[in-house]
Amino acid sequence: MLVIIPAWNEEATLAAVVEETRAALLAGNVLADILVVDDGSDDATGGVAEASGALVAHLPVNLGVGAAMRTGYRYAQRLGYAVTVQVDADGQHNPADIPALLRALAEGADIVIGARVAGDGAFVARGPRRWAMSLLSGTISRIAHTRLTDTTSGFKACGPRAIELFARSYPAEYLGDTVESLVVAARSHLVLREVGVVMRPRAGGQPSHGPARSAAFLGRAVLALGLALTRPRPELRGEPYRRYEELGA
């Protein structure tokens, strides 16, 4: 299994995240490689990643998180990894939750989302941002035939079919790395599940929560969702689709 960590200017937190991920994998008795995708960082992220002992893919220019993730999935697919987990480099995901994601994956899902729930450093959104998030969750839940509460989480585990799909077509647009990738997956009849995880506050930097920014987020989210829903459906190669009903869950 492969842990993919997309990193853009994360020199402050990256080493700790890699170290913690390695410790969590050890504690969970999971054999894994860790791939850091350095998204053309201006700071020492690339060097920090190399020093951490992880595999490092250096994107020569900054291409955005979508391209970084697609690089990770291409690597996984090319070398034949059956499972990937993507973890943010800012330390807001707790790698100790990875075994929980893997268990849900083993129960027959193609993608397992680590959904932010109440707890230490709980993710609380209000106003337009909250409306946007419930709109996104509601819509994607409907097309994925399962209840999803947090569709903007970047903490995800993927099985072989999701890896194959994302290696070919990981969206590069705004919110593409979270929302649109789920829409693409659901429309390709991949099975989505979510597992509650506790988010920690970011180790560095503050997320934006101003009303204007939240409103902008709502607008862009609606646009991104609308585009994702009307885009031509990507072809899924390989095994025939597993419908939700066939899971008997």
Binding site: L31, A32, V56, H58, L59, P60, A67, R70, R74
Partner: protein, 141 residues
Amino acid sequence: MNLLAQSGYPFALVVSALLLLALFWLLRTQRLREKYSVLWFAVIVGVVVLTFIPAITGWLTALAGVTTPINLVFILAFLVLLVVCIQLSIEISTLEESARTVAEEVALLRLELERRTGKPQSLPGQETDVRQPHTDESPAS
């Protein structure tokens, strides 16, 4: 002759001729790909035709229900420019996508090269045991 002297026809012809020359020059020096020049040639030919047979504008104006012929010309000119802009945006998007793909490929190749030339091998099924993280001192067995 009098008509020519007092009208904008010579001016339009000269401008068209200059544009045509410029296009040929750009194509000759390979600074413009042939596929993008087709549109501009079409525009210039259109201008030349309108210059020689201005009556066309009159017919088109009647056909489109526009009162003043010059307004129709302006509208058409705006539309042509709009289409060109959209076409260029499409080309840029395509270029960005290919640049992105190439950059990803470069990153993966560099990783592959580093893996093969120095770093410990790591493949699915033989993942690095996290209890023994990669270090420079302990080569892969």
